[in-house]
């Protein structure tokens, strides 16, 4: 691994990473590349987030959907765990709560494939520091 040796280095890495992530979003098949974040803090894992994440990874592959599934920390909606955030390119990210395997299946079939919304959306209710 390349060591970060100066502030300039760090900034270079940062801009590279940012463009990489940008690329991830605007990949060559924008209608296919979906990003899913699974909230995997203690609260999420206790409610079954791991199984949901495994399910998502397997099913995307089986159903031929190009998608990136990553884990993240607690989104704060502990009452509705497991929660996942789905970003379909060109659309705002959406957070879904109470995602069990059945719900995950519904989200893939209805929302990701057809753009239909499914129940259980959690509206964003906070501001981030970027604004």
């Amino acid at each position: 691994m390349v060591k970060v040796k100066s502030l300039a280095d760090l900034k270079k890495i940062k801009s590279e990473l940012q463009s990489k992530m940008e690329l991830r979003e605007k990949s060559e098949n924008p209608e296919k590349s979906v990003q899913v974040k699974v909230a995997m803090a203690t609260c999420g894992i206790a409610s079954g987030a791991k199984q949901v994440m495994d399910f998502l990874i397997e099913e995307f592959e089986k159903r031929g959907i190009e998608a990136i599934v990553t884990q993240t920390g607690c989104m704060g909606y502990c009452y509705a765990e497991p929660t996942i955030e789905v970003t379909v390119p060109g659309k705002d990210p959406l957070v879904f709560g109470y995602v069990n395997i059945k719900k995950a299946d519904e989200i893939i079939e209805k929302y990701i494939k057809n753009g239909e919304l499914v129940e259980g959306i959690i509206p964003v209710n906070y501001e981030t520091i970027e604004k």
């Binding site: 691994m1 390349v2 060591k3 970060v4 040796k5 100066s6 502030l7 280095d9 760090l10 900034k11 890495i13 940062k14 990473l17 940012q18 992530m21 974040k37 909230a39 803090a41 203690t42 609260c43 894992i45 990553t70 884990q71 993240t72 920390g73 607690c74 989104m75 704060g76 909606y77 502990c78 009452y79 509705a80 955030e85 709560g97 239909e116 919304l117 499914v118 129940e119 259980g120 959306i121 959690i122 509206p123 209710n125 906070y126 501001e127 981030t128 520091i129």
Partner: protein
């Protein structure tokens, strides 16, 4: 087009399901069901003005919608493209209708600073942290600023310790920086011990790099090359993520020797705690890290003078550290523009108890309890009545309805008889007995007292016994005075923060719920029906049909009676298990 209908508990209670059905049927009447989709969502967090209907993609936000409004929304908004003005949110100050939720003041209630990356980045990937300005603050500090300048920035930001006591962080760093020694330490206190609190765990699980970066910044400022994270072993996931993060930071050269090409060296180690509450106190924490018993010692000397292994040590809480990189990046003026006069920035709270939206929130200092509980938290479960909110864990107190509009900051909470604590917030409803609540917390402190000083070891035990006596209906008026006097003594004479604050739950419930204590002592009644010893199950002979279900379920055969005739409970035999109460299908059994 999409119509989002709030399906949160609050909105459901005001008929949001009927709105959903009506919208669907009106759309069908107009043959629009294929073009417009109606979806039930989770809580919008704006329960005060519920039910909410949101229209996508134009983000129109309708408030206080009634089932009969469905027709108008479809006819006007969907078909004719005109917004239904009377259902838009009315800005209370400008008296103007606001159609887009992004411009509503409500959504400014939560600002995520410490939680900025939680639930956003992959905590096990340092690249994602770097792409969100990660380690830029550290780079800026060690390449462009002197330690004194960094401390000055933190001082000017007004940041105060998020662990509970609220000591100014910049001042703490300054004291540690002035101590002269060959070795100094930066310590992160991740011994989150309040029942119901999980803020620090979430930060470490969701954004471990922010804590690592901040500890390195602190190390640079005070002249320490070593950092220690004291974390409880009950947080295995947080430990794992921290270890991964430390490993990645070392690989990138952001921990270790010659960081970013400078002469600054800093590295981190983990120390595991066994989960003793007292080890959140900084001197006890340090002793525990040294391998000694987790007992506090008298301050001074403060850890900043003589801490871990006798060397100057700076101890900060996880959330305090999580704020540091942002302050460096965005400037102290930006940070101090948020919050109240003496408490700057935001505070993370873990909402728990009888509240609809249990979860993790971050609000600017100065937000009121009402906003937190009824708007962000979605109100009380099952539509019950709010009774009290316990802040600050076993060291805090119970606040009541009259405190709901007090802006929350360090000083206001102390003035109301509670304290900020680490940020646990437990909401109670009308079914909670405040004497039992006080007893519960005393039970906790008795268990967790290290036993070193007498007021805490013996005094808390006596407090607990007196509360237990009252809960059993054997309390006297003298006991109530004794509770207060003893509480004051414990508070004034205990060695450390644990004992000095442990009587708070007793004192605050005595102040705010004296009538409940009186009911227990004088009338031998528990108004909330929680104290078993004061309860009595009785069968209403007029409602009882004599089905014998209660008699069959009673484990001690306290219920007698003939088939098809009213039954009777022998209260001398009854153990008040409540089994009959649950079994009765005719609501014939009631609690006195």
């Amino acid at each position: 087009m999409h119509l989002l209908v709030c399906g949160g508990t609050g909105c459901r209670a005001s008929e949001s399901s009927a709105i959903l059905d009506n919208l669907k049927s009106v759309l069908e009447e107009n043959n629009l069901e294929n073009e417009v989709q109606v979806v039930k969502t989770g809580c919008f967090g704006f329960c005060e003005k519920g039910p909410i209907v949101k229209v996508l993609p134009d983000n129109t936000f309708y408030t206080q919608v009634k089932p009969e409004d469905a027709k108008e929304i479809v006819n006007e908004h969907i078909i004719k493209g005109r917004k239904v003005n009377r259902l838009l949110y009315l800005n209370p100050e400008s008296k103007e209708h606001v159609s887009d939720s992004k411009h509503m003041g409500f959504y400014k209630k939560q600002i995520r600073i410490a939680l900025r990356n939680c639930g956003f980045i992959n905590p096990e990937n340092i690249d994602e942290y770097i792409s969100r300005d990660g380690y830029e603050a550290l780079a800026k500090c060690i390449t462009e600023m002197t330690p004194a300048q960094v401390i000055d920035v933190i001082k000017r930001s007004g940041l105060r310790g998020r662990g509970g006591a609220g000591f100014p962080t910049g001042l703490k760093w300054e004291i540690a920086s002035k101590s002269v020694a060959d070795q100094k330490y930066v310590v992160c206190n991740a011994d989150e011990g309040d029942p119901g609190a999980f803020m620090d765990r979430s930060v470490l699980e969701g954004d471990p790099h922010s804590v690592i970066e901040a500890m390195a910044i602190c190390g640079y400022s005070i002249g320490a090359s070593k950092g220690l994270v004291y974390i409880r072993a009950e947080y295995p996931l947080a430990i794992e993520r921290l270890k991964i993060a430390i490993g990645q930071a070392r690989e990138y050269g952001l921990l270790g020797e010659k960081i970013l090409g400078t002469d600054f060296a800093f590295d981190l180690e983990l120390r595991y705690g066994a989960g003793a509450f007292v080890c959140g106190e900084e001197t006890a924490l340090i002793h525990s890290m040294e391998g000694l018993r987790g007992e506090p010692t008298v301050k001074p000397p403060f850890p900043a003078e003589r801490g871990y292994l006798g060397k100057p040590s700076n101890v900060n809480n996880v959330e305090t550290f999580a704020n540091i990189p942002v302050i460096i990046n965005k400037g102290p003026e930006w940070f101090s523009s948020i919050g109240t006069e003496k408490s700057k920035g935001t505070k993370v709270f873990a909402l728990a108890g009888k509240i609809n939206n249990v979860g993790l929130i971050e609000v600017p200092m100065g937000t009121t309890l009402r906003e937190i509980i009824f708007e962000i938290g979605g109100g009380i479960k099952d539509g019950k009545k709010f009774k009290a909110v316990q802040t600050g864990g076993p060291s805090g107190g119970c606040l009541t309805e009259k405190h709901l509009d007090t802006p929350i900051d360090y000083d206001n909470l102390i003035a109301s008889g509670s304290m900020m604590g680490s940020g646990g917030m437990i909401v109670m409803d009308e079914d909670d007995c405040m004497v039992s609540i006080a007893k519960y917390y005393l039970d906790f402190t008795v268990e967790e007292s290290c036993g070193k000083c007498t007021p805490c070891r013996v005094g808390n035990k006596r407090l607990y016994e007196t509360l237990d006596k009252i809960c059993h209906g054997n309390g006297t008026m003298e006991d109530l005075d004794k509770l207060r006097n003893l509480s004051n003594v414990i508070r004034d004479t205990s060695l450390c923060g644990l004992g000095q604050t442990s009587p708070n739950p007793v004192l605050s419930t005595l102040d705010n719920f004296y009538h409940e204590y009186l009911a227990h002592v004088k009338d031998h009644k528990c108004p909330a029906g929680q104290c078993k010893a004061l309860m009595q199950y009785t069968i209403n002979p007029e409602a009882c049909v004599g089905c014998t279900a209660c008699a069959r379920v009673c484990p001690v055969n306290a219920i007698s009676g003939e088939r098809k005739k009213p039954h009777f409970i022998d209260t001398t035999v009854c153990i008040k298990c409540g089994a009959c109460f649950e079994k009765c299908k005719f609501d014939a059994i009631y609690i006195n």
